[in-house]
Amino acid sequence: MSNQELILLVFTFVLAIFLGYELIKKVPSTLHTPLMSGANAISGITIVGAIVAAGATQDSTVSVIVGAFAVAFASINVVGGYMVTDRMLAMFKSKKKGGEQ
């Protein structure tokens, strides 16, 4: 990683924080629980790092084993997080749009 690339990463980080702030401010309090579990699922993105570590078997066995555990934990987070969020959001219904009303 060169210094140039590094600056870009820091730049991305700062912009993303601001973007996140603007985006999430608009989510109504009614949807805060799904927002949280959805955000939780997104934090499972660390699975990308875990895959990189677990896949590089030519470098080191230690990092592969540790990486494999990271993949497992992150997968729990990703799969469980998205599924439970979907389960919750499926329950939020408007009266006009139907149901048995």
């Binding site: 973007l19 955000a39 990308v48």
Partner: protein, 470 residues
């Protein structure tokens, strides 16, 4: 190929952003979540396409680990009860944290021990700092979330745990963490061993940071831990120089931080006060006894029926007690009967009702309550004088008028739902015990308040059958 992967990461980041944007409306929220899941799939597939870095054995390892983890996640997500959502989210936060911690450890081993490290200057500094932070934040998130899970699921005592010299111990931990940080960043190869004490210190800090916080403050803690899990992913992103990790980690970090701020505002307390005061412990309650004592007037469900039968405007105020009693379905049944009776029904939901932000909304949505009937305190308070009956179900501190009037109360200044201003107020409660924060509630002794003692679900069922007979 490398270009293609970078492009895929950009697509994934855009899908996350659009997904969160769509969460701002109930109509698009579900599609938003699917879009976000799609973004995750794109990011994962793109990473797997990197044949140059991943060996065939590596693919097998990844597939096995992902299947095990994904299977556990899927089963858990299908089985969890909506009432237990707070502890579920807390636990999953912890898994995100430990995953980032492990990525930090694995990458340290790979980049510094297994192969000769080629980094230098600022890049070396940032990567070693990021490794340290991924381990630190990930570790704090992990044990902090486990404690939060224990408290929320009542596997451990929910009361704040305080002991003499706590500040001193915490100070010592923070100092040691800072020392390890400096040593590690100065020479990550020679001082690699400090990661072991750093890891243990991070675990300890997570425990020490969460045990002094009482159950009623848990919404704040979960939101904060949510934020940490994002920041840990972000740190892992700096370790491997991956933009999609940094972008999505920051989104989650910002999200948790905003929710934390909202929760604190809804309780009129600063974050520092929530984290360090041990609210609701012995010393906090001493100053809080209110002068407004008196006799609480009890009411039987049969008498309550006559009042409700004549009511034309009813507001339900649910709290954690409704969740515990699993009363949301029968509440909705009663609401349907009242509506058929020509009565306007709404549900006033306080931002900190329940054990996590938006918890009550999820439970009521589970019981098929239409989205439009869920209102915030600010919308219902100005019309409270017009409300015939306000029915408080297992809520306590969020309807305590002391927050408005009694300056010596520990919850003074917290925005509440003004049920004491309604024409009649029913309080469904098991007993006269004070709430989770341990604060007396003068609402129970108000002129227009009637207490209906007993299990919330049983009381609601009694009311429903009264209507059916009458």
């Amino acid at each position: 190929m490398e270009m293609l992967i970078v492009l895929a990461y950009i697509v994934a980041a855009v899908m996350f952003i659009m997904g969160i944007k769509m969460l701002s409306s109930e109509a698009t929220a579900r599609r938003g979540n699917m879009l976000s899941a799609g973004g995750m799939t794109v990011a994962i597939v793109a990473t797997l396409l990197n044949w140059a870095e991943i060996s065939p054995t590596g693919y097998i390892v990844i597939a096995v680990a992902a299947l095990i983890g994904g299977g556990i996640g899927a089963v858990a997500a299908n089985r969890v009860q909506m009432t237990s959502m707070p502890e579920f989210v807390a636990l999953f936060n912890g898994f995100g944290g430990i995953a980032s911690l492990l990525v930090g450890c694995a990458e340290y081993w790979r980049q510094f021990i297994a192969i000769d490290n080629t980094l230098e200057g600022a890049a070396l500094f940032i990567v070693s700092l990021a490794i340290y932070l991924a381990i630190l934040i990930g570790g704090v998130t992990f044990t902090g979330s486990l404690i939060a899970y224990g408290k929320l699921s009542e596997r451990i005592d929910g009361k704040p745990y305080l002991f003499k010299g706590q500040q001193f111990v915490n100070g010592a931990i923070l100092l040691s963490i800072a020392t390890c940080l400096v040593l590690f960043v100065l020479n990550p190869v020679a001082f690699g061993w400090v990661l072991i004490p750093a890891l243990l210190l991070a675990f300890t800090l997570g425990v020490m940071g969460t045990i002094p916080i009482g159950g009623a403050d848990m919404p704040v803690v979960i939101a904060l831990l949510n934020s940490y899990s994002g920041l840990a992913a972000c740190a892992a992103g700096f370790v491997i120089g991956n933009t999609v990790l940094i972008v999505s980690g920051s989104l989650v970090g910002a999200s948790g931080l905003i929710l934390t701020t909202i929760m604190c505002k809804a309780m009129n307390r600063s974050l520092a006060n929530v984290l360090f005061s041990g609210f609701g412990s012995v010393d906090a309650t001493a100053g809080g006894t209110s002068a407004a004592q008196g006799e609480a007037k009890a009411l039987s469900p049969a008498d309550a029926y006559f009042v409700l039968e004549a009511a034309s405007n009813v507001v339900f105020v649910p709290g954690y007690g409704m969740a515990v009693a699993q009363a949301q379905h029968v509440v909705r049944e009663l609401a349907d009967i009242l509506e058929a009776n020509g009565c306007e029904v709404r549900y006033a939901i306080h931002p900190v009702a329940g054990r996590m932000p938006g918890h009550m909304n999820v439970l009521l949505a589970e019981a098929d309550v239409p989205y439009e009937q869920l209102v915030e305190p600010g919308d219902v308070n100005p019309q409270m004088e017009m409300v015939d009956v306000a029915i408080v179900i297992g809520a306590n501190d969020v309807v305590n008028p002391d927050a408005r009037t009694n300056e010596s109360s520990p919850i003074y200044g917290m925005p509440i739902i003004d049920v004491d201003k309604a024409r009649t107020c029913f309080v469904l409660k098991r007993s006269m015990r004070s709430g989770f924060a341990g604060v007396e509630n003068p609402l129970f002794f108000c002129e227009n308040t009637r207490m209906i003692f007993g299990d919330a679900k049983a009381t609601m069922q009694a009311l429903v059958s009264q209507f059916k007979e009458g």
